[in-house]
Symmetry: C2
Subunit: 88 residues, 2 copies
């Protein structure tokens, strides 16, 4: 069993209108030093296998096919063994 944490970010060259909008809200609340806000995703999940290579392959497939949009987003992940009873 592995615990996986994934970060999905837009490529630096792609505009982030959501970040811009939230930052404008911050400005109006008086938080005037905030710049360059970019909003991405953070995903956590478990992979229920004892084989690290198989787990990495499954994570890559999951990220590429579902979690990220490979046209405009990059992803990175960390994978670490989870201590679970009986889960290997």
């Amino acid at each position: 069993m592995y615990k996986v944490k994934v970060l999905v970010k837009r490529r630096p060259s792609i505009l982030d209108p959501q970040g811009k909008a939230v930052e404008k809200g911050a400005f109006h609340l008086g938080l005037t030093n905030i710049k360059d806000t970019r909003i991405g995703k953070y995903i956590e999940f478990m992979v229920d296998t004892g084989d690290k290579a198989a787990a990495e392959k499954e994570v890559n497939d999951y990220c590429y096919k579902l979690l990220a949009n490979p046209i405009m987003e990059d992803y990175e992940f960390t994978l670490e063994p989870a201590d679970s009873e009986g889960g290997n």
Copy 2:
């Protein structure tokens, strides 16, 4: 100038229907070992001040008022000096 990275996660006790839905998609793609998917947010931005305490206060305000929903989400952040020309 500080570079800030924020993670926003739903509290463990709060259901995550988006994660459940994406995971179902994974299952139908043959990724059958993925469990307990939870989807949160990852936000990066800069704080344009040289005073670390002021930067932290501004980041907390930003997270609490705009980035996270404090009723059902928790946030954590890291703040590190950014080497920028003339910032600071």
